[in-house]
Amino acid sequence: MGREVSESCVESLLIEMVSSYCNRFYADKQELAARRIEAIGYQVGHQLSERYTMERPRFSDHLEAIKFICKDFWSEIFKKQIDNLKTNHRGTFVLQDNHFRWLSRMSIESSPEMVVSSPDGEDKASQAMSMHLYFPCGIIRGALSNLGIPCAVSADISSLPACSFVIRIKA
């Protein structure tokens, strides 16, 4: 019953979505653009979690739900599992993906044509890159809140192409 779409279509759509929101809709209000993108991700994560938990028995605790996100959920969306999961056992989880698919073709080296001083150029590039992370953060947040776990999700790209997502469960 499922119809398939090529992966390049999905990636192009996501890139265009971030570009539209940042440059056209909320050109001088980057914060709002980020929040809108995250909200789209939230709804998508909500619906995807409904679909991917269909055949499974219920989760007994938060750790099982996070493990589901790391294994089944991540493989359905990115065709691979999360490579590393860390927790402080007090409601914070760090999910590390060593080769995040949606960022695998992006680089944050500033181009030689840009005449900017090097720290400023790198900041702008990594800020542009971080806009692309709001959507996957929203997906994770939507999926977890549909499973009954309210949380806040942020991403960290200090070591590309690896990407870490930090989940903080609200008590």
């Binding site: 909500h46 269909m54 499974r56 549909n146 499973l147």
Partner: protein, 143 residues
């Protein structure tokens, strides 16, 4: 024969309720569904009573009334499916099968980008699919 199906969200808000009888029992059936929600909550919150099958989605027979049997199913996302049937001898496998098809239809309805989570499901396609599944259930258990 299934006379009523209902989908209830995790805050006990109704998402879809449909009765399949000709008579005016709709209100009575709504009341039956409402009472069964308490039984679902009790089963889920009380691990001793539910026994070994705590984490299964299919909850089984919730409670029998004088004319009806009420079956429950709880998804991972805390959405409850309730089905009220008048059959006296219903095979467990048939009900499980019914709920599996029902869950698939629900997931497709919720994946609709125009559906607002938490509001009632208004899709006509969904309503048609549900009545097909309900009719198929009637036929399989009669045969």
């Amino acid at each position: 024969m299934i006379v009523c199906v209902a989908i209830v969200g995790h805050q006990n808000n109704p998402l879809y309720i449909q009765s399949f009888t000709d008579g005016d029992d709709a209100l009575k059936l709504h009341h039956v569904v409402h009472c069964s929600l308490d039984v679902v909550d009790e089963r889920v919150n009380n691990p001793k009573k539910s026994g070994p099958m705590l984490n299964e989605t299919y909850l089984g027979l919730l409670y029998p009334t004088e004319n009806y049997k009420v079956y429950g199913y709880l998804t991972n996302t805390k959405v409850k499916f309730i089905s009220v049937t008048t059959d006296l001898d219903v095979k467990d496998a048939d009900v499980r099968n019914f709920f599996r098809k029902f869950h698939a239809a629900y997931v497709d309805a919720v994946s609709n980008p125009f559906h607002v989570p938490g509001k009632k499901i208004t899709s006509k396609t969904f309503a048609e699919r549900i009545s097909t599944i309900v009719k198929a259930f009637g036929l399989s258990s009669a045969g």
